[in-house]
């Protein structure tokens, strides 16, 4: 048994933030599962079995015995706080709002949100930070649509969200903003109870309001905000940074509408903003022929699995971004019962936002050298901190 090695919090390589930490690549080559030590804000440092091969990650995440294990802070209404039948019950109340059809129905609103962000970018002028003006507002405003946030409240909503999820401000300020957000979420729930809006939160209140408490409903709202905000903002910012560095691929995304879906899948595969998913075995389980004992923690290394050369019979270089390749299977949205609820919506947002940006700003380029881009690699969700651009 190899000695447990510490992997970085985000599971990424220090030298190249898009690549998995080298320990994970090495583990992938070894038939025997490695143990790793992972820093975690909630659990402190913990030791875990590292699962890195594509087939192994799929099998582990789909295993009944693999549970969340308290790796995320508990919140009523947040799907990541539940497992088993309780999880299924809650999730079934939401799945009808996140179908492929719902994502298509939201397309016009997404297009409007993207268009208004592009207007804001135009107004901000060359030198603007795309993360602030484009990548962050888009998912936040889409969530406003899902929750039924009135237009007059959206500016404040965005401001509070930005501070509440900004880890560089003092904890005090963050908690203050989080409390303000909770209070606002409670007023949204109350207004839906009074008159359910024609949106996700309204529908949940209408259809299941008698089975859910106010705090569960507010928790659902909060979950949608947290789960659907940073992840998409990061995928957008990283996608833009990558495409600006690969102009031939940017041209594909900009000019070929038939290539959009495949390009987005490839960007999702390559970026995988949540590179490692922490879990826990609630009973003895097996990955391939190896036992993981009850209580052991498990780290499913999605980013590494997305690059697994064994996941393809062909000789594809999965360490390379290629938006033209036929969509290669990936585990960016996870797998099993907790697979991302919002994935079809996420796809739609990316499919709309990226071509629109490059079409409106065909001479877009980074205002800083690519090797000086400020990446966030040490948080649960990877991304670009700032992306100043010019045109």
């Amino acid at each position: 048994m190899t000695e447990s090695r510490t992997i970085p919090n985000g599971g990424r390589a220090a030298t190249c933030p898009y690549a998995p930490a080298p320990e994970l690549y090495e583990a992938q080559k070894d038939d025997e599962l490695h143990r790793v030590t992972v820093p975690n804000p909630l659990l402190g440092e913990f030791e875990a079995v590292s699962v890195t091969r594509y087939d192994d990650v799929k099998s582990a995440l789909a295993d009944d015995q693999l549970r969340m294990g308290g790796s995320m802070p508990y919140q009523a209404g947040n799907l990541l706080s539940y497992d088993g039948p309780e999880h299924t019950r809650l999730r079934r109340m939401l799945t009808g709002s996140f179908t492929t059809k719902r994502a298509r129905e939201l397309r016009p609103q997404i297009e409007d949100v993207v268009a208004s962000s592009l207007d804001a970018l135009e107004e901000a002028g060359p030198g603007a930070d795309l993360v602030e003006v484009f990548c962050t507002p888009i998912p936040t405003l889409v969530i406003c649509e899902l929750l039924g946030v009135p237009y007059t409240d959206r500016e404040d909503f965005q401001r509070r969200t930005k501070v509440a999820l900004d880890f560089s401000v003092s904890r005090e300020v963050q908690m203050e903003k989080a409390a303000e957000m909770e209070a606002y979420m409670a007023t949204l729930v109350a207004s839906h109870r009074d008159q359910p809006g024609d949106n996700v939160l309204g529908r949940v209140v209408h259809d299941f309001g008698d089975q859910l408490s106010d705090s569960e409903l507010a928790g659902i709202g909060n979950m949608l905000l947290i789960a659907g905000h940073e992840t998409i903002a990061s995928t957008l910012s990283a996608s833009i940074a990558l495409l600006l560095q690969n102009p031939d691929q940017l041209a594909v995304v900009r000019d070929d509408p038939t290539a959009t879906d495949g390009a987005v899948e490839e960007l999702l595969r390559y970026i995988a903003p949540a590179a490692i998913l922490p879990r826990q075995a609630s009973g003895n389980m097996c990955v391939r022929d190896q036992e993981i004992k009850e209580g052991e923690r498990v780290v499913a290394s999605v980013l590494a699995a997305n690059r697994d050369p064994e996941s393809t019979e062909q000789d594809l270089d999965l360490d390379r971004l290629d938006v033209r390749r036929p969509p290669h299977r990936h585990l960016t949205f996870g797998f099993g019962p907790h697979q991302c609820l919002g994935q079809q919506l996420a796809r739609m947002e990316l499919r709309v936002a990226l071509p629109a940006l490059f079409t409106r700003f065909p001479t877009l380029r980074s205002a800083v050298p690519h090797d000086e881009l400020d990446y966030r690699t040490n948080a649960l969700v990877f991304g670009v901190n700032t992306l100043p651009v010019t045109w």
């Binding site: 995440l61 799945t95 996140f98 179908t99 492929t100 994502a103 299977r329 019962p337 079809q344």
Partner: protein, 71 residues
């Protein structure tokens, strides 16, 4: 090709409908799978093959080249 779905296993991820929309759809109320065509035409085979491994609940069963009765 014959396609079967296990509705009990389905977690309504929508991936089947996303990758092979002519063969799979989702119920409006809870998003669980609706198999539109258990014997899709050859033009759909590739899409169904892309959809199949993407089901997070392994709820899709594919039978390719099913044996023909009486042959």
């Amino acid at each position: 090709m014959n396609v079967e779905v296990d509705e009990g296993k389905c977690v309504a991820s929508g991936n089947c409908a996303a990758f092979a929309p002519a063969v799979f759809d989702q119920r409006d109320d809870d998003g669980t799978v609706i198999l539109l065509d258990a014997t899709p035409p050859e033009s759909e085979y590739e899409r169904v093959r892309e959809a199949h491994p993407r089901c997070p609940a392994a709820a899709i069963v594919l039978h390719e080249n099913p044996p023909v009765r009486g042959a």
